[in-house]
Amino acid sequence: MTDDSDAALPGAESVPRSGARAVDADASGDKWAEARGLIDGWKGGVNIAHEALDRHVAAGHGDEIAIRWLGKSGERRDLSYAELTAQANRFANVLASHGLAAGDSVFAMAGRVPELYAAALGTLKAGLIFTPLFSAFGPEPVRTRMEIGDANVLVTTESIYRRKIAAWAHEIETLKLVLILGDTAPEGCVALAPAMAAASPEFETVATRPEDPALIHFTSGTTGKPKGAVHVHNAVRYHTFSGRVALGLEPGVTYWCTADPGWVTGTSYGIISPLVNRVTMLIDEAEFDLQRWYSLVQDEKVEVWYSAPTAIRMMMREGSEAAKPFDFSALKFLASVGEPLNPEAVLWSAEVFGQPFHDNWWQTETGGIMIANCPGAEVRPGSMGKPLPGIEAGIVARADGKIRALGTGEIGELAFRPGWPSMMRAYLHEQARYDKCFVDGWYLSGDLAMRDSEGYYWFVGRADDLIKSSGHLIGPFEVESALIEHDTVAEAGVIGIPDETAGEVVKAYVTLNPGFEASDALERDIRGHARKKLGPAVAPREIVFRKTLPKTRSGKIMRRLLKARELGLPEGDISTLETDET
């Protein structure tokens, strides 16, 4: 990384300069020249949807299949690049007809249906900002994110709207339009199908500038509210490049990313990267089902498969026998992300599929894959691989506002030299939290890792209290906040405990208000409350009662101590402990 990209730090304010500089540097051997060569640019700027759709149609590839959608009940629908472009255009026209314009914000919350993809791409075409929400979220995480993100438009299903949103939608002051998938809509909402049918299939993609915001992905924080990581249109350079280099996405490849588009993987590598690289992507509406998945990989002749450790471990539970009847010979490359893939799963997959799942590492903030076991490179089972070309990674320690790079075999925080195109440009309305991610010319990831003598990186753990469950990053604060809304709960401390399938599961420690007694019935009532508020993916799977929780002098609950005790680990420095757990 060049010195001047360090000078751009910290702060989002410096971002436009950083983007401009990256372009200026091209003449002098820009390391991202290869990435730029994979996209066309649009009217002097960059628009993700132009790269994903328009240019392929213009180049005569409109008849190639962009999406092969497999419905829950066995439906099957192919959408060519030309058809998907027309759908995205119709969606863009629907937005325009309601007076929405570039810079406005569109939230989407739905299952994996073709309309969701058309909405994402239509939003980008029209220059609006797209934010996906996980459809299994409960009402509380949805509302918090729509408030932080100043949502102007919500695209969702009638069922989700009625169950989770209708009760408070009118309190979101920025919200102008609710689009409901299908032919009918509740009062005050607009049915999307007739609106799309009435809209023109032609739309000229908005000439967005490289640094215009395109996507906001929410990620959890240890304290405080979720953070909205802002990504710009120029990120498409890195989506394209990393998909090519780390996943082997090339025109014509049949590709299946099992991640839900409600999360960053399902967007960067479940919508943008595959389409920009002109693959045929499979979309399965159904949830994980072993027989269905194996049949799908076989019957659709999946060549590149990008999945997650939780799913892979669920396959492992059923053993090699369950896979025996299937023909996986079309598979060329398998990759995994979301949490570290254990060596046993790597070896098992090599045996069953003829080649191993290749682990890689990235996070919401990086916008794209940073470290990977790439196609053609030797896999180290248990390692996340090596930094992608152009990425400068390090293992570092912080001391007195300075960063010290650590050597081979030392455990420290995984960090990167900023400047790659898909890096977040801000946490929405949270400059101070954004600035905290950058110290002394490094972006700090919050993950602890180690680099071996051959340059492979190994995940060690989180540097903070965040919980990784089934690949989802969960902020304990958000869970604790929901728990203490229950009438009986006084205080709550939430940690992740190891789970062989999910990696970690959420466990809560609570104290009760005076006058309430711990009981199984109360445990269920509180857990039910949390599930209703947060959804099953975020709510605790287990709640235990305590008389007091371990706290510091300033009254902060020491989650680290709860976790150390849960795991039977050394308690470490407890000099700040004021009140202990009882």
Partner: protein, 80 residues
């Protein structure tokens, strides 16, 4: 045990794992994921709970056969 007994056990374990569900409102044909909102970890925990309670091994390929109370009570009647 009768099919009704298995249905009751299934429902009890279901609501222990997902206490946001009111057992009174669960229909015989309600799908545990699509209608009742369980996620895949919940389903796994349900399978483990049924194993602990009834000693029944439910392989992954049979998960669709416990997807509703009716299917599940039928399946458990045949396999326990």
């Amino acid at each position: 045990m009768t099919a009704a007994d298995y249905r009751a056990i299934f429902l009890a374990e279901l609501c222990r794992i997902a206490p946001d569900i009111d057992p009174e409102t669960v229909g015989d044909g309600d799908h545990i994921q699509d209608d009742l909102g369980l996620d895949s970890m919940d389903v796994l925990n349900l399978v483990v709970a049924l194993h602990d309670r009834l000693g029944v091994d439910i392989p992954e390929k049979d998960y669709p056969q416990i997807a509703t109370p009716t299917l599940a009570s039928d399946y458990l009647s045949r396999n326990v």
